[in-house]
């Protein structure tokens, strides 16, 4: 594994590892670690650093929905144009063009179900190219970006063993 891949893997595991933590785990000097990270950021490989939040533990809980969108295209309007327009809404946390029965998978976040519903019906559905929206409210999250939720890891091994 290259230094870039190794540091990327570690930062995906925990973006808050300090330079010293990363240096220890990669056998690189701290300055080398910093240089690799700077390069990854400059090259646009690392787009940002965010916390993975279990919203159920936050008051007030955020409401999130996975929204399926179907669109029609014409000569002037392609997928990118529609995506560009949708991505600008602050409520839209994720937007992906997908294969299968629908065109876009969109992730929306709001303070309440009515706020999310209003956003879909008043802002998204009226976009001329959008022919259909199907909203799935997220009831429970078990894993996000590789992180499993739940009450921590249950280590049922004995505390001391041979």
């Amino acid at each position: 594994m290259s230094d870039r891949e190794e540091i990327l893997a570690l930062l995906r595991e925990n973006a808050r590892y300090s330079t010293e933590d990363l240096a220890r785990q990669t056998d690189l000097a701290p300055e080398e670690v910093e240089a690799v990270i700077e390069e990854l950021e400059t090259d646009g490989v690392i787009k940002g650093y965010q916390a993975v939040v279990d919203w159920e533990k936050v008051e007030p809980e955020r409401v999130r929905a996975a929204v399926e969108l179907n669109v029609t295209l014409d000569r002037e309007t392609g997928y990118d144009d529609i995506a560009e327009r949708l991505a600008k809404f602050p409520e839209v946390q994720g937007l992906r063009l997908v294969s299968g029965d629908f065109d876009f998978a969109m992730e929306v976040e709001g303070d309440s179900m009515s706020e999310v519903s209003r956003f879909i019906s008043e802002q998204v559905a009226p976009v001329p190219e959008i022919t259909q929206t199907v909203t799935h409210y997220i009831m429970e999250s078990y894993k996000e970006r590789g992180v499993e939720f739940g009450d921590g890891h249950d280590d049922d091994r004995l505390s001391i063993s041979p």
């Binding site: 220890r24 056998d27 890891h153 001391i160």
Partner: protein, 381 residues
Amino acid sequence: MTFEPSERVAGVPPSGIRRFFEIAEEYDDIISLGVGEPDFAPPWAARDAAIASLERGQTSYTANRGMRELRERIAVDADEKYGLSYDPDEEVIVTSGASEAVDLAFRAFLDPGDSVAVAQPCYISYMPGVQFAGADVVDVPTRAADEFKLTREALEASGAAEADALVMCYPNNPTGATMTRAELEPVAAFAREHDLLVFSDEIYSELSYEHDHASIATLPGMRERTVVFNGFSKAYAMTGLRLGYALAPADAVDAMNRIHQYTMLSAPTTAQHAAVEALDSCGDEVREMRAQYDRRRNFVLSRFEEMGIDCFPAAGAFYAFPECPWADSDEFAEALIEEERVAVVPGNVFGAGGEGHLRVSYATSLGDLKEAMARIESFIT
């Protein structure tokens, strides 16, 4: 009428880790670095194979020596990975954990009055096992200065030349020491010269980080005098499935099987199905677990270095064996649990040469390791 233990049982003291286990059990907020088993679950494919075997109702006894299919795969695996060539029909026996294999070998080849050289510090069961077989233990302490490797000098100084057998374990529990082929040569020469049987526990063979694992049985003249122990607990994180094996010449396996067939009969059938699948398809998971342990090892070693605690560079298993900052490792380990809620095992429970050290297992998540090492640092400063 009372149940008086036999002299052999009465003569074996309770396990030294028992007391620490009881202390640790008093608290529910402990970070344990005292655990001698992987923190991973077995690969899914192996678990699926176990489940599928149960669904098919495959719960009858297997052949005493283990399912033929499993013995074949064990033989192929040992040959491909370590250059150990054994006939699956006559030279492989599947046991209920590598511990059973060790016990079988001791009882099959030791008589009362025999003596067994045991390279220490070591897994806590060897000395009682020798005693249960009625034989005597010759302590062969290894030293931090030799990176806890077994040397010819250590064997000579301890009187191992007079012994009937030698027990060794590399990569080592509790020190994390490993031995290269070149380092094993003088040990093999000593065993040949003094006609010692060699019991080589290689259960951590998959966890050798700095060089390929070398088995003493592959050295000239050693195959015929060595019993190699291995199993699925460490490499495949299958500790509770209790599956190990021994590789040895046909006569030796035959003798071990004579005890096995009357005591255990056969190893757990479900576990044997899981083991076949583990050998067939779980190499990637083993490599991934090893990479994780290696990352944790580097972290733990560097943290001890930062704290100014001497710790030789453990190169195998999943243990670091630093010097204990206090003179008495028992007292230190007890105070560390009570004051900082971090469990480690004092080195003296692992036999001669262990006092003055601590066994620190890094079979725990990096997050917990980081927190535990921070607590150790604040405890000693």
